[in-house]
Symmetry: C2
Subunit: 331 residues, 2 copies
């Protein structure tokens, strides 16, 4: 930073305080002086140090965002939403990629505290006691995205995963399927994982479908999990005609697997996903899936932070609408 406020003050023959007032409009300054100072600022390309300002104002206008995987489209959409909203309110994003790793989450929690970010948007993966402890050390605005934080102390932005899974399963049932498998996420993921399983089971029960847990396979949301999962399922239950996957990536893996086995989707087997990532509508066949508004979720999270910062009341559960998107992968 070349010039400081002191330089500008001297060059325009006024005090630092006056320059500060001109810059921030915090107090009236005579037109004449204001113009003189402005001129010097322009000529010098002076930029006040936000560091110094933050130190004295005790606000950094920085929002920390901790997310498991920046390059996963699901998360990058959320980041996009957060960034957009932050930018509108002159906040900036400090991006932290936790790689699904608890140690990284903890490390970043410390770093963000040290950096004195004004708020934190946390999409955790491990909600261990340690994480909770670090979170409570954090005396700033905190909002969670996607997953609830056990302590229930922070607002969370989410969709109704259980209901969405119920509706998708219901849709498959209504299409005439009776032997419907599920490739779900990890059960110890209390949120997206468990809730979607719950919705599936409720639909099966509600419609008196006579199938057991042998129709279920578990995966970590990866392509390969879908690819292999459906093979195991089909081996155990050759009569299966449809499979509901815990996310789109596994669904696409499942489709690819089916095609590689010489069968056709949806003719031989129907496949549904969850998330509606960009690929879903483009894939051949296009994917029937649950749409969730990731970018909007990001925006909401940031808006909630903004409200918290203003001291406004914020709902503890900020729900977003999902949508069942019917495409070619199911009949």
């Amino acid at each position: 930073m070349r010039y400081t406020i002191k330089d500008i003050a001297q060059m325009s023959g006024v005090s630092k305080a006056t320059v500060s007032r001109v810059i921030n409009g915090s107090k009236p300054v005579s037109k004449e002086i204001k113009e003189r100072v402005m001129k010097v600022i322009e000529e010098t390309n002076f930029q006040p140090s936000s560091l110094a300002r933050s130190l004295s104002k005790k606000e950094t206008r920085l929002i920390g965002v901790i997310i498991p995987d920046v390059s996963n489209p699901v998360f990058s959409k959320i980041i996009h939403g957060v960034e957009k909203e932050a930018n509108n309110s002159n906040y900036n994003i400090l991006l932290c990629n936790s790689r699904y790793d608890e140690a990284q989450e903890l490390k970043y929690l410390d770093i963000l505290r040290e950096k004195e970010v004004d708020g934190l948007i946390f999409h955790g993966f491990h909600y261990s006691d340690k994480v909770n402890e670090r979170l409570s050390l954090f005396e700033k605005a905190i909002v969670s995205v996607g997953n609830e934080i056990k302590t229930g102390k922070y607002p969370v932005v989410l969709i109704d995963n259980e209901k969405a899974a119920f509706e998708m399963t219901e849709y498959l049932i209504q299409k005439g399927h009776k032997n419907i498998g599920m490739i779900h996420g990890p059960e110890d993921d209390p949120y997206a994982g468990y809730q979607r399983i719950k919705g599936y089971r409720r639909a099966i029960k509600f419609y008196n479908i006579n199938i057991d847990d042998e129709y279920m396979e578990s995966g970590y949301y990866k392509f390969q999990d879908g690819y292999k999962g459906i093979r195991r399922l089909l081996k155990r239950k050759p009569k299966m005609t449809a499979v509901f996957c815990g996310n789109d990536e596994m669904a696409i893996g499942a489709i690819k697997s089916v095609v590689d086995m010489g069968m056709t989707v949806p003719k031989d087997i129907a496949v549904a996903g969850f998330d509606d990532i960009d690929m879903a509508k483009v894939f051949i066949p296009s994917l029937t899936t649950v749409h969730q508004p990731f970018e909007k979720k990001g925006e909401s999270a940031m808006k909630a932070i903004l409200s918290l910062l203003k001291g406004e009341e914020v709902k503890m559960k900020i729900f977003h609408e999902h949508q069942i998107i019917k495409r070619e992968s199911t009949t």
Copy 2:
């Protein structure tokens, strides 16, 4: 931030300087005192303010990253690489999404200067004079990714787009294709856009293929551009048997378009892409494309920043290897 270094000093009966020394190991401190201070720090969960530290040390350990679209897989991979490398060296990322918008680029350039980031990784889109001017105001380490900056003043991380496009076209020719179309990026994109066109043309010429510019269509790297582009191409040149697309997204659009017209890829028409995004190997048919190591590019950019910061010499052009990946979409 609850406790300050002053509090810790008082609570452990030493001076602020000593506490600072204990924290930073900047000067020897007697074992006894060190332990006493450490104990207080642990008990209070004291975190020094990086704000204050930055102000006095004149380094923020923040790296600004300006990128056109955070949620585009191509860019999010780069961010991922940057983040990883930064994290290894205790730097953090200030993420800026310019939305392909020059005004945003300029705005962010100002913000990052104001935030006094130690370095800037810039993936621009508009390399206007205004942008260059802002860049030169920036008296910090700057590295460009993907595109060269006209002034040639900053190191750039890139692949050899011209050569890659040549090789892909060559591959199609060797597969026996004579009527090869191209759906390229915008020509005014001097980098990825123009270079890939150049490579294509060179191959056509080199192998004495007798086709003209009617075999070319332009697009903005979007799915729809590929979808529509190939239809226009096929209308003009019904004998076309292969098309090389400026990126994977357009290639996938082209394939979808062909399939929707009742034809088959690669039987009726071969399609090749560029980038090798995750979708490429998963798509049905899987996509023949040019692989470029996005994450590595991000890492390199960050490494270059680190070198610059250390005052080391840095190559002005940091090339990465591309790779022709042959998959199902071409025969």
